[in-house]
């Protein structure tokens, strides 16, 4: 199912619903859903033993939307919302190679989040997205570390 070419106003007619590009999202199979469910179980593991076991293949939740080029792309994230959308947008915008980044939730009743990235020459939108996700993980490490240190020293002052 490839993206359909849309010609608006062809033969002097308005675009109809048939002209709408098909969803690039594959239908979720029961198997994929089951795998996702099992994968969520992994979340419950010990924070220290983060993903010790070999992770099972998860359903593909990230899609490249049609009409994307190397330096300008839109990505569709399934089952993500403002939580990740805005945080990721911020960290990608902090990348100097990125010309533009924005996220949207196209419709509130669809559990999807789109993110648009346009970069300058020399890098790609996909690279920028990967860097964003990496940077966000680094940030989480710093926050977790400092938070727990502060907590422990506060506990020390409280009992002293």
């Amino acid at each position: 199912m490839g993206p359909k070419k849309i010609v608006f106003g062809e033969d002097g007619e308005d675009a109809t619903m048939h002209d709408v590009p098909p969803s690039n999202q594959a239908a979720v199979t029961d198997d994929a859903a089951a795998v996702a469910q099992e994968d969520r179980e992994e979340d419950m593991l010990d924070p220290q033993a983060e993903h010790e076991e070999e992770e099972e293949e998860e359903e593909q939740r990230v899609k490249l939307l049609p009409g994307s080029s190397a330096t300008a792309a839109s990505f569709e994230f399934e089952k993500e919302g403002h939580t990740l959308g805005n945080a990721l947008r911020y960290i990608i915008m902090k990348n100097p190679d990125v010309e533009f980044c924005a996220y949207a939730i196209p419709h509130p009743s669809e559990d999807k989040m789109n993110i648009r990235i346009q970069t300058y020459e020399g890098t790609t939108a996909i690279e920028a997205l990967e860097k964003g996700l990496k940077d966000l993980q680094d940030l989480c490490d710093v926050v977790a570390d400092k938070f727990w240190t502060a907590r422990d020293s506060f506990a020390g002052t409280a009992t002293a």
Partner: protein, 384 residues
């Protein structure tokens, strides 16, 4: 060539005063100013502003104000709102807890309807051994429609509870002298503590004393009221879930943040005005001091000739609620500037009891990290 390499040599550093100014969200009588963050590359010509883990690590700070099981309050300083908000949202909707999911009613002759009773039961927060809750208990996978709904119920994903109470008259209590139903009858009030937990299979290992059994956090939650002859007999299944599915699974009663208020007194506020000014704020925000001889002698300070008079000083902005009351009065016009610090988040987390409040925040950070880690793999997979 990437853009930043071309300009690398020309980065300018803004002054400390300028950086300080950018941190403030202005609050006027009817409007707000400088609401959005501007610390992005390309926003200020010649400045870097690109993501730098080292710089973030240097600038980021956590300060605890209060830390108890049910209420933690702390400041996160040096963070963007988008990140702080992600943590807040994860706290509310994405951290799993155990809650009553199915109620099987055998008999309910109380005045509270089955569905209302079930809903009330679902909302009761439970506690239990941490190890058991976090590591032993796993997600329950709902069987497809048509299949046996209990096919997937195992000791590691389902906790069974029972509630079996019957209201009867108490012996030896004179109804003519006593009119308190709680004293007249047995089980006139049905409380959360009446719920009985029976460990199944391996649950015995994790949820029997000395380890913490599954029990309501607050034993005195009122579930229903009954009168003699009425009965509630039911069993329940608990599963793990997240707040985005149903708020009964949310591990927090509230999880919120506010920005640290700032109050800047630009021109001296003296005498009776100082006291009125103090009254515009909650207790402890504004203090009253005397103008010192040195201040009165300094020219251009605004204190000339006011030695010994009362003056308003800012003591603790943390206590301020930013009511903007002081902006309504003519006498303070042009003398005070209100604002909030854009990167100073005062978090408040109130746990429902299954987790500890401070532990919850750490879990939220971990959740965001795991989420990013998984999606990073997905992006790599997408390209393949």
């Amino acid at each position: 060539m990437p853009r930043h390499e071309q300009t690398m040599a020309f980065f300018v550093k803004p002054s400390a005063a300028e950086l300080e100014r950018r941190k403030i969200v202005g609050i006027n009588k009817e409007t707000v100013t400088d609401v959005t963050s501007t610390d992005f590359p390309g926003h200020y010509p010649g400045e870097d502003n690109s993501w730098d883990l080292e710089a973030f690590s240097q600038g980021f700070n956590v300060k605890f104000h209060n830390n108890s099981q049910f209420d933690a309050s702390f400041s996160l300083i040096g963070l963007d709102a988008s990140i702080a908000n992600a943590f807040r949202r994860i706290l509310i909707a994405e951290i799993p807890t155990l809650a009553i999911e199915n109620v099987f009613i055998e008999n309910n002759t109380s005045v509270i309807q089955d569905e209302v009773l079930s809903h009330r039961l679902g909302l009761i927060p439970f506690k239990g051994d941490k190890e058991g809750l976090l590591h032993f208990l796993k997600w329950f996978k709902k069987p497809p429609p048509g299949a046996d709904p209990y096919a997937n119920c195992f000791d590691f994903n389902t906790v069974q509870l029972e509630l079996s109470v019957e209201c009867t008259k108490k012996e030896g209590v004179d109804p003519n002298k006593e009119d308190d139903p709680a004293k007249l009858y047995n089980h006139a009030n049905v409380y959360a503590k009446d719920i009985v937990f029976t460990p199944m299979g391996q649950q015995e290992e994790y949820f029997t004393p000395p380890r913490q059994p599954i029990a309501p956090v607050n034993p005195d939650i009122l579930i229903a009221k009954m009168r003699p002859g009425q009965e509630i007999r039911l069993s329940m299944h608990m599963h793990k879930g997240v707040g985005s599915d149903h708020s009964k699974f949310s591990p927090v009663a509230t999880a919120s943040y506010r920005l640290l208020p700032t109050i800047e007194i630009i021109k001296p506020i003296l005498g009776a005005d100082a006291e009125n000014f103090q009254q515009c704020f909650p207790k402890g925000v504004i203090g009253i001091e005397r103008v010192t001889a040195e201040e009165a002698a300094r020219e251009g300070s605004g204190y000339e000739g006011h030695k010994g008079e009362k003056k308003a000083v800012v003591v603790d902005t943390m206590r301020d609620t930013v009511s903007r009351e002081c902006l309504r009065h003519k006498e303070f016009e042009g003398k005070v500037r209100l604002g909030r610090r854009r990167d100073h988040f005062i978090f408040s987390i109130e746990s429902t009891g299954q987790w500890d409040s401070d532990e919850l925040f750490l879990e939220a950070v971990k959740t965001l990290k795991v989420k990013c880690n998984k999606l990073e793999k997905q992006v790599v997979n997408m390209v393949r």
